[in-house]
């Protein structure tokens, strides 16, 4: 059993002491697998180092009556100048184990071949990770500390790791830290959330996950000002936004949930999941393709085509999706060259996806939702974002607070769409928001925030009022 009593940890920094952990207490017994969720910088790794004894707490204490591993798959415990063999021998000596038996195991498990006899500093990061994991498995600890193991090696190696760790050693105590809730749900039987140095324990995973997501979204609201960059080139923006999406635990949880529903052919649930995920991150293109697949399975062909074309417009490979588009287009196959793909140039010349059309529609008509038929016609028309905007007849005097960016009658609304609009027009988001707050008309506000520079003629926002007069 491991008992942590009121441990606190303070690091001294140039700007004064920084408290990383505060009054953390928990116990961990054989067979318990504690999953600790926490955002980046929440203090997860510090906690694991304290439990592992590599560091001392500033106050409080950790007592353990079990043998505790070093953080698993941690490669830093190697001496890089030494060979893999020497490192295995060192660990074997340190823990009074038979070096030859261990060497045989590592040779078989890590599959490093002749590299095992080369200095570790010549290894690739994947080889290092394999060696680290293999060495971690040669000592039979009572308690394993696991720090984000999900990223180790290829799928096959990952499978073997999971077998060695969670199957063969399932009776041990474990403490796993991660910012991936799904991983912790699958492997743990107790959960806790670490935030602002404090640990909150949960017996139920869903409660823990909800609590974690609340913290994540609170953190995002806090940091929203720095999130949107005024990209001019769309593919660069999309690549950046995909990374942002993958770092968003809530997004990842939604798509994992949806993937599971898709795998059991529960198409409607999967569609709702992908739609919710894409509402959070409308430019994560690969899930537009997934959304297309689950729509197609339900026979919702028009919406499937919208989703596929959006995926292509955001850079998913046209060649892979063309057969699917052909299969959902009513009344004949779509020609290959009629599927628009981005070319790395400025945003205004790129093909629009459904979210862009929804943004432009909301900008010009103030509508919260964009009809399927209208959107599909625009997507099929080989237009650019610029030409779609120029083709609008009017501009709305004010913007709705939230709009739907996914084609679905009951799709959730996206509140952050003003930033999306600013990004689309190449305007600075904070300047755009300030201009709107000053009472400027939306198009004027975009222009005064530096957006729409060099774009073709756009409808004059004053026109509709003159017509009325």
């Amino acid at each position: 059993m491991i008992v942590a009593e009121n441990i606190a940890k303070t690091y001294r920094t140039r700007t004064g002491p920084r408290r990383v952990l505060e009054d953390v207490s928990f116990t961990l017994s054989m067979g318990e697998r504690l999953g600790v969720l926490g955002r980046n910088g929440a203090g997860k790794s510090t906690l694991i180092r304290l439990v592992g004894g590599a560091e001392q707490p500033t106050s409080g204490r950790v007592t353990s009556a079990m043998s505790v591993s070093w953080p698993l798959a941690f490669g830093g415990a190697f001496q890089p100048q030494l060979t893999g063999v020497d490192n295995v021998r060192f660990i074997s000596r340190l823990y009074a184990q038979d070096p030859d038996a261990n060497l045989a195991f590592v040779e078989d498990f890590a599959e490093l071949g002749p590299y095992l006899r080369e200095p570790v500093r010549s290894y690739s990061s994947g080889m290092r990770a394999r060696l680290a994991f293999a060495i971690s498995m040669i000592i039979e600890f009572d308690c394993f500390l696991i720090d984000e193991i999900a990223a180790v090696g290829d799928a096959r190696f990952h499978e073997r790791c999971n077998y060695e760790l969670f199957d063969r050693r399932g009776d041990r105590a474990m403490m796993i830290i991660s910012h991936d809730p799904g991983y912790l749900r699958d492997h743990c039987n107790r959960w806790a959330v670490l935030d602002a140095g404090r640990l909150t324990a949960f017996d139920d995973f869903d409660v823990a996950q909800d609590h974690f997501f609340e913290l994540v979204s609170a953190g995002e609201r806090h940091g929203a000002a720095t999130a949107a960059q005024p990209f001019v080139r769309r593919l660069a923006a999309i690549d950046a936004l995909c990374r942002v999406a993958h770092a968003d635990a809530q997004f990842m949880a939604l798509v994992r949930e949806a993937d599971r529903a898709r795998d059991r052919h529960d198409w409607a649930v999967a569609e709702a999941g992908y739609a919710a995920a894409l509402t959070l991150h409308p430019y994560e293109r690969s899930y537009w393709a997934q959304l297309g697949h689950v729509l197609r399975e339900q026979g919702l062909l028009a919406r499937a085509e919208i989703a596929y074309r959006t995926a292509c417009a955001y850079g998913e490979p046209v060649r892979a999706l063309a057969p699917f588009i052909a299969s959902v287009v009513q009344g004949g196959a779509a020609a290959h060259d009629a599927i628009a793909a981005p070319d790395g140039g400025p945003t205004r010349l790129q093909p629009p996806g459904y979210p862009d059309l929804a943004l432009i529609a909301a900008l010009c008509s103030g509508a919260e939702r964009l009809g399927e038929g209208e959107a599909l016609a625009l997507l099929q028309g080989a237009q650019t974002i610029e030409s779609v905007l120029a083709g609008q007849s009017a501009a709305a005097p004010s913007l709705p607070p939230a709009i739907a960016v996914v084609p679905r009658a009951d799709a959730p609304l996206r509140a952050g769409w003003h930033d999306d609009l600013a990004r689309l027009a190449g305007a600075r988001p904070e300047a755009f928001a300030a201009a709107l707050a000053r009472g400027e008309a939306p198009l004027e506000a975009l222009r005064s925030a530096g957006g729409l520079e060099g774009w073709a003629a756009i409808p004059d926002p004053v026109l509709p009022e003159e017509c009325q007069a």
């Binding site: 004894g53 560091e55 941690f74 060192f90 000596r93 340190l94």
Partner: protein, 265 residues
């Protein structure tokens, strides 16, 4: 170990021996590798130093204020300098490069220092023994008059060096300045440490000052053992032991203090 009865001391010793053994081999392999003569460099390197200094002093006929042969003088003097100077040299910054070792529960900061000190002690001692034996065999040196006194002086110097090494090593983890200052200090201490003179050959005023330097006593004891009747060695065992003792306690406190502050990656 809240729930378990304390383990017998023999188990702790076994663990400690294992850890030190593993660290020693790791350290030797890391430092010397398996190329050419491998870990033999541990002894050859100080031997080369001592031989070089002996040759230089012989060539320049350095004055050392006695009628001792220069070879004998250089061997005893420079070997003991290597002993107290190399230990801190290897321990300053030792923790920094080995932080990841602390992930292994049985490895403590003190073990890392102890392993390095053991290696330096072995290197300097073997070099001293081998060169001494060779010089005696070829007749450049007469055998020591009192081997036990030589051993006592040698061990006292080693003890002092170890305490100094751990203290400076632990402090260097927290203060970079220690590293910067140790190099010039050790360089300046070399001529003052008794390696290049006999205390009795100095003017009385200088003797009193020089005898405040702890290393001087160790060298003088070694010379007393080696040459006994030929020289008038001046030392105070009580003072030297007190210095080593105080330094040892300081070292243990400093390690504890530094260990509380380490933060491995």
């Amino acid at each position: 170990m809240a729930t378990n009865p304390p383990l017998p001391l023999s188990v702790h010793f076994a663990v400690q021996r294992r850890v030190l053994g593993a660290l020693l081999i790791r350290e030797l392999l890391t430092r010397y590798g398996r190329h050419n003569i491998g870990f033999l460099w541990l002894f050859v390197e100080p031997m080369l130093f001592t031989l070089g200094v002996t040759a230089l002093w012989t060539a320049t006929k350095s004055a050392h204020g006695s009628d001792l042969p220069i070879v004998a003088f250089a061997l005893t003097g420079y070997s003991s300098v290597l002993l107290w100077r190399n230990m801190p040299g290897r321990c300053v910054g030792a923790l920094e490069g080995n932080l990841s070792l602390l992930y292994h529960r049985n490895v403590r900061a003190l073990d890392i220092y102890a392993a390095r000190i053991a290696i330096e002690f072995a290197g300097a001692t073997v070099s001293f023994l081998v060169l001494g034996t060779v010089f005696i065999l070829i007749g450049w040196l007469s055998p020591p008059e009192d081997v036990l006194t030589v051993a006592g002086g040698w061990l006292l110097t080693a003890w002092f060096g170890a305490g100094l090494a751990i203290t400076l090593g632990a402090l260097s983890h927290e203060y970079e300045l220690v590293d910067k200052i140790w190099h010039p200090t050790s360089y300046l201490l070399f001529p003052l440490s008794g390696a290049a003179f006999l205390v009795s050959s100095l003017p009385p005023a200088a003797r009193d000052v020089v005898l405040w330097i702890p290393m001087v006593h160790g060298v003088e004891i070694i010379r007393e053992g080696f040459f006994g009747s030929h020289v008038k060695a001046m030392f105070d065992v009580g003072y030297a032991v007190t210095c080593a003792l105080v330094l040892s306690v300081t070292a243990l406190i400093a390690v504890r203090w530094a260990a509380k502050r380490v933060a491995p990656q």
